[in-house]
Subunit: 546 residues, 3 copies
């Protein structure tokens, strides 16, 4: 398809003119609707001319491309509604227009690009690939520019909490190695626990503060992460990491006030109700569709909570969380083992994410041992299941290949630590040379793995500098572009092509010709929505770009 010529000669308008015409008003929004109609033109200009704009001059224009994800780029109403967590009308100015859609939503949904709504679960599966759904398919185009580095906060994923999981579970492990009778012969110095625990605390605080900033400044990005079929499960990670921290605190756990446990379990319970409810009653995010190994994170929190609670001296509520975890773990275990034909996204090759399989049963065994007061047969059943799954992964270790490092790997180290922990406990119950050797061996493997992942992380962070690549999984378009729609828009808008020029300077995405339309359409919308309050544009510097 050859690029269309500018309809009335205004397509070549210089970018510097744009500032003049941006004004946040209903007319502007109506214009925006027409902008959609000339995507080809728009994209050509974006790809062709935007880089020619002087860098210093285009800084503010570039910023605007991320405004769609920014919390404080729109009106105050939008911010508040977003904070309240209810996806309201993303363009408050367009209320009268949207009302019209409300009546005939089924049809109008076809015609409007409501980019502000979170993409559907299907859309995530359709647009992304890879074991963590982290790579954009070749036929897709991101709504954010792929050829340059995004603001740091936009690139900071929730899976960064995996680091906290990895390190704080190590703190737990070394505390246990120090205190359990089966490993006293190792004479582990308390300093190991102390050092690791303080590192964990520092790391958790750092990651939490950073992510909180993301929540504040890029709430839309956080929303999209929450609805991501894989990433969403990582929202359990902060609370699990905190539970690990409490469990690994360098003094007896039962001295800690119970209210800490209640405070940490409340969000887990809420997430349980939300996520499991989606599994069961939602059409779109039902389990037979979204099941993947990362769902284990959504289950393991219950067991960790049960373990800590029982350790702190609570009795009934740990059983409650254990029961909830057990019921849903059974469902998840069966579903993942079946590999239903609807779970096609699971790749043929294995991936570190599979190690999450061993997390739940190993933590469950410890939790049940604490609840029962002894490492009884029930705890042993869970423990041995985790050991078998561990062995099952280890013998397939040569199938773990062909994937890129990501921060999420940290989350896949804590299952190894859990198994090591459970083995230490088991060895205290069944104390012989074999179990002691196993306890030491697994602890060693776990420590080595964490060190390895740490080294890889440092390498990626400081040597290659790509620890936080552009997080394309939150930048997918809301729906697949339709060629017929593009043509229809083109024809429709040939009469009002004067407004066309307004949005041109905002584009600089690396649009691919095959799928350009959706990208350009969404960009044009975003640029418009960000333009609603030019006064606030100066405040964009608050985004914590390093």
């Amino acid at each position: 398809m050859p690029p269309l010529p500018p309809v009335n000669g205004e397509g070549a308008v210089p970018p510097s003119k744009t500032k003049l015409v941006h004004h946040p008003s209903l007319p502007q929004l109506l214009n925006q609707a027409r902008h959609h109609s000339q995507p080809t033109l728009v994209v050509r200009d974006a790809g062709g001319e935007a880089p020619a704009v002087p860098r210093s001059d285009s800084t503010r224009e570039r910023d605007r491309r991320f405004d769609h994800f920014k919390t404080f780029s729109g009106r105050l109403e939008r911010q508040l509604s977003a904070l309240r967590g209810q996806p309201q009308d993303p363009l408050p100015d367009a209320v009268d227009i949207e009302r019209g859609h409300g009546a005939a939503s089924k049809i109008s949904e076809e015609d409007t690009d409501e980019e502000e709504d979170v993409p559907s679960a299907d859309r995530y599966f359709a647009a992304l690939e890879g074991p963590e759904l982290e790579t954009l398919r070749s036929t897709e185009v991101a709504v954010l520019p792929k050829d340059e580095l995004w603001p740091f906060l936009l690139r900071f994923p929730i899976s960064a909490f995996g680091m906290c999981l990895g390190v704080s579970s190590q703190a737990m492990l070394w505390k246990t190695l120090e205190s359990e009778p089966s490993t006293t012969f190792l004479r582990v110095h308390p300093a190991a626990n102390h050092v690791l625990w303080w590192i964990s605390v520092a790391l958790t605080v750092l990651v939490s503060v950073t992510y909180l900033l993301k929540v504040v400044f890029y709430f839309e990005a956080v929303r999209r992460e929450f609805h991501h079929p894989v990433r969403g499960n990582f929202f359990f990670a902060p609370w699990i990491a905190c539970l690990f921290l409490v469990k690994g605190v360098p003094r007896p756990v039962d001295e800690i006030h119970h209210v800490v446990w209640y405070l940490l379990m409340a969000p887990i319970l809420c997430l349980d109700l939300k996520i499991y409810g989606q599994w069961m009653s939602s059409g779109e995010r039902r389990l037979s569709k979204v099941a993947n190994p990362s769902n284990h994170l959504a289950v393991v929190g219950n067991f960790v909570g049960a373990l800590l609670g029982a350790r702190m001296g609570l009795r009934e509520l740990p059983i409650f969380f254990f029961a909830v975890g057990l019921a849903h773990y059974t469902v998840l275990f069966v579903t993942l083992y079946q590999r239903l034909p609807t779970n096609v996204q699971l790749p043929k090759e294995l991936h570190p994410v599979f190690f999450l399989f061993v997390a739940a049963p190993s933590v469950a065994s410890m939790a049940w041992a604490r609840i029962s007061g002894e490492f009884n047969n029930g705890a042993k059943l869970a423990y041995f299941v985790s050991m078998f799954l561990y062995a099952s992964l280890v013998v397939r270790v040569n199938l773990f290949r062909g994937f890129r490092f990501s921060l999420a790997w940290w989350a896949y180290t804590f299952p190894m630590t859990s198994v090591a922990l459970a083995t230490v406990l088991y060895a205290s119950e069944v104390d012989n040379v074999g179990t002691r050797a196993m306890a030491v061996g697994l602890s060693g493997i776990s420590a080595v793995t964490v060190t390895g992942v740490l080294a890889t992380t440092v390498y990626h962070a400081f040597v290659r500098g790509d620890l936080f690549p552009n997080d394309v999984s939150i930048a997918i378009t809301r729906r697949r572009p339709k060629f017929s729609k593009i043509l229809a828009h083109l024809r429709l808008s040939s009469s009002d092509d004067k407004e066309l020029v307004f949005s041109i300077p905002s584009f600089s995405s690396n649009s691919k010709l095959g799928a350009y339309s959706d990208d350009s359409a969404s960009n044009s919308k975003m640029s418009s929505s960000s333009d609603q309050s030019p006064a606030m544009a100066n405040g964009h510097g608050r985004s914590a770009e390093p």
Copy 2:
């Protein structure tokens, strides 16, 4: 398709002539085959002229349209075979014809409308919609007239036993509130249990007698209910209600003779063998196809039986039923949670039927507590699972909308009562202010809910008078009509159009033009089959129309 003109001018024959030509014989049946061939004509007459017939005069004609579902409208052989439960040739007169079909059944099945066979499970899903599969899809036409009230017995569904479940479980609850140590502080008067129990007994007797009359007089309708994917599960309800009655009897349960328990569990075991066998080994009614929340009724009976049996002092058989229930509950729980793509009939909105989710685990917890002799960890696990599911439904309570009241709602109240009961037992084990408050609170919610449903029932029964609407879910056609078949019939019968008039007066269904043929064809067949014994037509008054 324009309505065809009457072929030889006899289409306008007055309805009063019909009585003259009705005669139950083979020739008449052969005529009936030809009747199929002019459905358009027939329907037009039905929709256009039937209402013009004087009501008093058409009473017997109207009755005949229901004869297809009547037990005593055919020959004696048919009644007996029906009572024996074997679906035999529904039209004994047509044996010679049907024999011919037997040989080449695969092909002939295409050409004949064997309405007497129960529709397949697929057919139920294809023809009905709604969470209880209780509404006819717009493209379907019922085999019974939709525009007027059917005989009362035909409208009396098996789900009426839900009322017995709701009230008798309340009797149980108040007995428990009176006797359990955790709720003695409420000082519940024994009269509550007494009154509720006697009401339950009266209600159960009333419903049972009425349904028995339906079994006797409309066995075909009962058969169709039994094969209905949702309604079939309600056949467990009578026995569960009786178990509740025995459990709630206003004196110690262990005084009751064990034979009562055996008598009540025998039908449940038979139903278990039948239903679970279908899940596993049947192609058409396999679990991945028919799974829906009402299946919980098919599981909960085992737990109720185990609970009562253990309460009565039995030891091994309660464990047997508990084991059977547990195994199949696991299967059901996983299947329902997965929401397999084959279970598409589940609606997006929640529905009271989802409350059945909490029934099984709460009863199971009580049963296991009774079997073990204490509310141990196993019982607590089940109890907490039910509590979580309860909470999961309560937080989604605003999703419960957009559905019509039905008698089946009663069945959805007993899970709340079960949870309340389990909580009272749990509070006796873990006795503190919190658990007592929960016990009282849940009992209150349960009582309020039952009162609310009672009020709604009374309102629908006496004010709006639509408590028993036409039960279209038993009136679906056996298969989707085919247009080509209709045309073929038309061509075939253009020569023998004289017999056409015989069946005209029987039609008054609100046939829709798009799907008229199946409706008219089945109606014409039914009218003919009912005509076999005019002498018995007078006996139709026995049907207990109120």
Copy 3:
């Protein structure tokens, strides 16, 4: 499609000429590639003229058709690689050719018939039918001749170990009847156990030696059995049978050295890791695809091992195997009960294979009873589940029809024996007239069933002589033939038609016209590959044809 005329008149070459041109070399292999191109011609000749060849003269040619499955028919490298279990290049001579394929494997795979690779799981389902996937579909053609008896070893299936299972479990049963307190009143003589045990030992040795010969001489056939979705599960049978033998040894089990148990459990653990890993992580053999009742054999071994280990005085490892078994049994039980739409191969009628359903829970109940030291509630739950499943099958006994006897039936008798055994143990725990009657009754049924199957086996072995029919399930082609490919080959090879004649004499399969091409192509390949070492052809007499 009319048969093509011989291209240059050489198509009518007499078969006796063939011996002259067979030579194992690269040129010969290149020829072979061209042979594919004239399948029509080839098949016509095969069907038409091959029978005309004198029998005595064609013996060596006939032998060659099985060479593809023979271990020692190729070069030494191939034998070794096969023994090492790694499917290497089947035709070492063709390395240079195959290298070329390696680069563009996706495309070239379309063009070559790599018959040496094991057919995919999909292929097994597509080509075979019946509850044991033991019958070739009418549209398929076997790679081995169907019209004459194959070498005995090729017809000796792994399911022959079912006999060992059946007899050795009887030995166990009679030992238990003799020793358990609940059945001492029967005064069973120790001789029963002695005789049965020695028969079992003899039978197991005989079957094992025979199958070992098959492994040695027809490794390709064994590989294909291992990858057969049903047959593969029978590879657990030898080890289970040995466990039964150890358990049924006519003296106290705890006198046996523990190393025997370790030796027997090692292969079971390896198979567990292999098979369960396939269920979970393999795309092609995932559980939702291959689930069928014979998978129970893959689970029951863990329980048998746990039972024997606990009986021998071990403590932790039996719990390990019990845990592994329980987790995977849960998955399997749910999956089989759901009857996922992807498990279409399960037939509508029941089949003795369904009796495997009762094996796992009954053995699990015994194992748990031994692990716990008493027949406690956990053991009872498993026991009652197996009883219910047993009853569920017995009431459907009239659905067991329309299938042919096979050796695998023996495997379906041991579940009955297991139930009988568990009942005897249960009766020792709950000792009353009812349980004793049940124990005796079920033992009787089990003994009668084994006798019946024995009689049927003897009848088939010695009277009808068809105990070991041609095992077509290992003889399916690797992929479905494509018509377009055939035509392309035809066009390609029209220039080098002289080599065509070489392979003609090798064909005598009953090729059906609709699916001839794949058959002929594979046959031509096999004949060629077997021709590589004519010197070894004389050694084929080692194959133990009776």
